[in-house]
Symmetry: C2
Subunit: 379 residues, 2 copies
């Protein structure tokens, strides 16, 4: 079963199984130490196993140590509002950008959800694209090091490279990788080629092969498995990747292993106001506490299943504080309502300033969107 | 069996079967008369059944008579030099442009052959793109009414519309329409969506639904069947189409129903010099003549299988002259070598001036290539 302590949120059995199933590598202590050394700092997402798995990160760091700088690639398929779960890979990407002074290519595949979801129009996707870009900018990415690539707007750059990938991938492959059937639509079938392109697009224009690191939720791994299989045949590096766990939904890990935007009662959105956050956490966050105060004081709560506590392992950076919350909750000293209040205060402090930066970002969008391919010469 | 007379080259049994198989309509005498009336002129490709089949041409002409002008859409997938067979739909398209003052959207899907052929690179395709554009321009299309759309260069316009088509087409459909297997690559699977776009791209930008007429070789019908199935669901007209037969290769209709660029002995290219044309026709053109002059004088030749005569039904516009050649060949008065010489003179006269216009076209390419989508406001 899952081990949950302040200093380590070790992947539940499922995450371990994913490593085996997908054939990725766990981030072990030696690799963690190496990242710390090169970054000049630690990150609680590494300490706590939020980023728990990788592909070829050792190779990427070898190249980095040889002076072959890498760029970061991550993305967001716009189809709705951004919730806290979406932020995990981006927060870590921001940290990597800061520590390694790395350029970031941020893809907004605005056709993806249109192709995979019934009832979503391209106009809907375009609305959410604008909104989602604000959230990304609000996280504080360096405008001089960050480039937004929007599939429909930058199709002129993407499609000619995507066909090179697409020529090397058969329907059998995507059938196996994504479980597609003959009823899949042509755009959905082709799509993985579009998602592959940012991993080597800078190299096409930079005049050198630029190593690429993709921080992403582990669920996207099938796409990048295809990408990694194809790129060497195009004379390009395989991208390295670093994988994070999902933020569980409010209703808990058992029912809700990944927060979903489609159920507003399990997700907290970046635009939720303090009252909404308070209401959602108080009402919906699955509690590891006991049925009555008396029983709780006596038996204590279970932080391993308590969503408020679990979320704090993602959002409370201070190990000592987190350990104290853990121990006090477990002993029964801290009540569920009190623990939830700690989370609410933490989230609202973050979201209030995020929302300010988010509004300020409206004026900045133009600085982030790629104008032409000459930007890749800087990679 | 095939009926072949100077005034009518009626499709062989195969073409009739294609009409039934594909579910298209033959161009009957009433429709031929209507085109003549509206065009103010006849065309020998109609008189002789070179254009023999259509979809919704009646509807298109109804719209035209109501004042709802149509545009023409045809194309060329660059992968090698242009031969005489490629010219058939373009020559007729040029005539339609002149007679109906219609705009022409000419697509160069430079990724198509890359995706469908082993061993062809995008760089190869790009080389042939430049060469093939010269041939199209040399045919005399009006630069003020003709717009070149190049898939990789104009992917920014095409891809966002292609995904709308692609969402409505399943793998099962392309499997049935094109006989694709699970080993088909993703780009080849997606490609039909890119070929659908020009049929409605002007309507996306023009602010009105613009009827579209696609003159094309009958072999492209499966693509446009898919297009026609999808477009009403996007709120667009189904494109009308008019289909031509193939120019047979030099080795004859029996072995070589369609001229192929990959066998230089069956094709005459637009860049062949007069000596090459002479040599190819003399050496390779399948003869309907007899084994000896004496036998030929006695029994006469068979114009129905004689490639030189068959080609003249495409390239000799003068019915009286063609009928005389037919009758003289059939009676034995005209020898195979003499008939071949008539064809050689005809082709060389055409090709010599085509090659001059082709060189002059190098300076004109820029006038034809679409700059941005504002051009569609003129449709």
């Amino acid at each position: 079963m899952a081990t949950v302590t302040p200093w380590e949120v070790k992947g539940s059995v499922d995450y371990d199984r994913l490593i085996k199933e997908f054939g990725t590598k766990p981030i072990d202590e030696a690799l963690h130490e190496r990242i710390k050394r090169l970054a000049g700092k630690d990150h609680h997402f590494l300490r706590r196993g939020v980023f728990f798995s990788h592909r070829d990160l050792d190779w990427l760091l070898d190249e980095y140590e040889k002076g072959n700088k890498f760029f970061l690639y991550t993305g967001r398929a716009p189809s709705g509002p951004v919730h806290l779960g979406h932020l995990l890979p981006w927060l870590f990407t921001k940290w990597l950008q800061d520590r390694f002074k790395a350029r970031l290519l941020f893809q907004f595949p605005d056709e993806e959800k249109f192709l995979f979801k019934e009832g979503l129009t391209l106009a809907d996707a375009n609305h959410w694209l604008e909104e989602n870009m604000l959230d990304v900018i609000a996280l504080g990415f360096d405008p001089d090091l960050t480039d937004f690539l929007i599939d429909t707007r930058h199709a002129g750059m993407l499609y000619p490279e995507a066909v090179k990938v697409a020529k090397k991938v058969t329907f059998s492959t995507v059938k196996a990788a994504f479980g597609m059937t003959n009823q899949a639509n042509l755009g959905a079938i082709f799509y993985t080629a579009m998602q592959a392109v940012p991993a080597f697009l800078p190299s096409v224009h930079a005049g050198r092969k630029v190593p690429c690191l993709i921080p992403h939720g582990i669920d996207q791994d099938p796409h990048f498995r295809v990408t990694r299989d194809v790129l060497p045949g195009l004379g390009q590096y395989k991208p390295a990747a670093i994988h994070c766990r999902f933020l569980p939904g409010l209703s808990g890990m058992a029912t809700d292993g990944k927060m979903s935007a489609s159920d507003a009662t399990t997700a907290i959105f970046t635009t939720d106001d303090p009252k909404t956050v308070r209401r959602k956490v108080m009402k919906y966050a699955f509690s590891g506490g006991q049925a009555t105060i008396e029983e709780h004081r006596e038996k204590g709560g279970d932080p391993a299943v308590d969503v408020a506590y679990q979320w704090l392992t993602f959002f409370e950076e201070d190990d000592a504080k987190l350990r104290r919350l853990h121990d006090d909750y477990k002993s029964g000293k801290l009540l569920t309502g009190e623990l939830k209040q700690v989370l609410i205060d933490k989230l609202n402090a973050f979201l209030t300033s995020h929302q300010e930066r988010r509004e300020a970002a409206r004026k900045l969008i133009g600085r982030f969107i790629i104008k032409d391919s000459s930007v890749f010469k800087r990679y």
